[in-house]
């Protein structure tokens, strides 16, 4: 699956990091970094990451 984060909306809350730490992380400055593709086995975690995003900035394709 493909993951798109609208970085104009993202405010680095980090909620996605707690749901899907294999895909999303906060760097030492507290800014979001993420993988643009993820294995199907992570779908549930990535869906939850998109659910809990306070800005609803995460889109999943495929």
């Amino acid at each position: 699956m493909k993951i798109i984060v609208d970085m104009d909306r993202c405010q680095d809350h980090g909620q996605c990091v707690f749901s899907a730490p294999d895909v999303f992380r906060l760097n030492d400055e507290g800014h979001l970094e993420y993988e643009e593709t993820a294995d199907e086995s992570l779908r549930d975690a990535v869906e939850e990451a998109a659910d809990v995003c306070p800005l609803q900035a995460i889109t999943i394709e495929g």
């Binding site: 906060l26 760097n27 030492d28 507290g30 549930d44 809990v52």
Partner: protein
């Protein structure tokens, strides 16, 4: 179980529907909501959305593809229920039968009981509330915010950013006193005051004026009289449970649930979101409602599996929420309110950026960060690791 009805079409109701599908439910799903809108995101209503043009599109929740076939009954409150007969009665008099029921009706804004000036008085709970308020927040408008919890402080910051003349009235000696303690409350007050917000603390509203030109629109307990073009009541919220009356439930503060989110042991009724009063073994066995961002998602995941009889881990969520006031991000993890008797600055300086720990019986139960975004993962992990769920008893 052929048909599940979710009552409540906000975040908790949507997440419950999605989690029922994720847990394998393929039957009919109906979601009933009293507001006319599809589920939307409430936190921005007191913050960035209130400062911009308020539309449903700007705050609508992303929905999982799995709920595309949900039957939405919007703008239609449930007025009563018969849990023994498994039927609900809607406002239009129609009835709805279910095999499984999810209670997700959430909260409504509490209102002050004093009459008067109804056309100037606002709350900020729903999208329609925010649309109505947005048009009134113009430069120079005299805005009186009653209540200094998170909603009151966020709205005060937003109104001030829109160059309104803002006064905050609250009964406590500092804003945000009960969630954060007096020291952080005072620090946040100073930040608001530096932006030009005025605080009238330790006072309550006794009456509203008659709207005449005498400029005594809001009367306070110490005799102060304030002129007000806009009055925002931010005095907490009340669980929406009257539709469950008559079923013998404990509705004294939301809906009483067991550790699996069943409503008082009933196999066919669960509750999610901030209407659910449940025990969290992470802290103790006391049942509490939790009005935090993370709770609708966490309770929906557990409650869906409970209702369907699918095994899931013991429920011990770590609550979290945030608040944005001007350029300051406040983030909370755990249960700071349980540790307000022993508050310690863990790092940094409250005047700039800091991490504050809340302790009960010497144990860290919550962390609040002012700024310090790089510290989030570390403190959250420390709180997560502080509790290990007991292994289920086998046999």
């Amino acid at each position: 179980m052929r048909r599940i009805v979710v009552v409540g079409a906000s975040m908790g109701g949507l997440r419950a529907a999605e989690q029922l599908r994720a847990a394998g439910f393929t039957g009919d799903l109906t979601v009933v909501g009293d507001e006319p809108h599809r589920p939307y995101n409430r936190p921005p209503l007191s913050k960035e959305v209130l400062a911009a043009e308020v539309t449903h599109e700007a705050v609508a929740f992303r929905m999982r593809a799995s709920v595309a076939d949900v039957d939405w009954r919007l703008g239609m409150p449930v007025v009563s229920s018969d849990l023994a007969a498994r039927t609900l009665t809607l406002l239009d008099g129609s009835s709805l039968a279910y095999d499984g029921l999810v209670v997700a009706t959430g909260l409504r804004a509490r209102r002050l009981p004093q009459p008067g000036l109804e056309d100037r008085r606002h709350v900020v709970r729903t999208l329609d509330d925010a649309v109505r308020l947005r048009g009134c927040l113009v430069p120079g408008a005299r805005v009186v915010v009653i209540g200094a919890g998170f909603v009151g402080c966020e709205v005060a910051a937003t109104a001030r950013t829109l160059r309104a003349d803002v006064t905050v009235v609250c009964a406590a000696p500092e804003p945000l006193m009960s969630p954060l303690g007096p020291d952080l409350g005072a620090e946040l007050r100073r930040r608001h005051e530096a932006r030009g917000v005025r605080f009238l603390l330790g006072r309550t509203v006794t009456a509203f004026g008659d709207g005449g030109p005498a400029s005594a629109d809001v009367l306070l307990s110490d005799g102060t009289a304030l002129g007000a073009d806009v009055i925002i009541e931010a005095v907490g919220s009340t669980p929406c449970v009257s539709w469950l009356d008559g079923n013998g439930l404990d509705l004294s503060d939301g809906v009483l649930c067991d550790a699996d989110l069943r409503v008082e042991g009933r196999p066919d009724v669960v509750a999610v979101g901030d209407v659910a009063r449940f025990p969290n073994p992470r802290y103790d066995g006391v049942c509490r409602r939790v009005e935090h961002w993370s709770i609708p998602t966490d309770t929906a995941r557990k409650a869906a599996r409970t209702l369907l009889g699918v095994d899931s881990p013991p429920f011990a969520p770590l609550p979290s929420f945030w608040s944005d006031q001007y350029d300051l991000r406040i983030q909370s993890f755990g249960a700071p309110a349980l540790g307000c008797d022993d508050i310690r600055v863990l790092e940094g300086d409250p005047a700039t950026e800091c991490a504050v720990g809340y302790h009960r019986d010497g144990e860290l139960v919550g962390v609040v960060l002012l700024g310090l975004p790089g510290a989030i993962p570390r403190y959250r992990k420390q709180l997560m690791d502080a509790f290990t769920a007991p292994a289920p008893i086998s046999g």
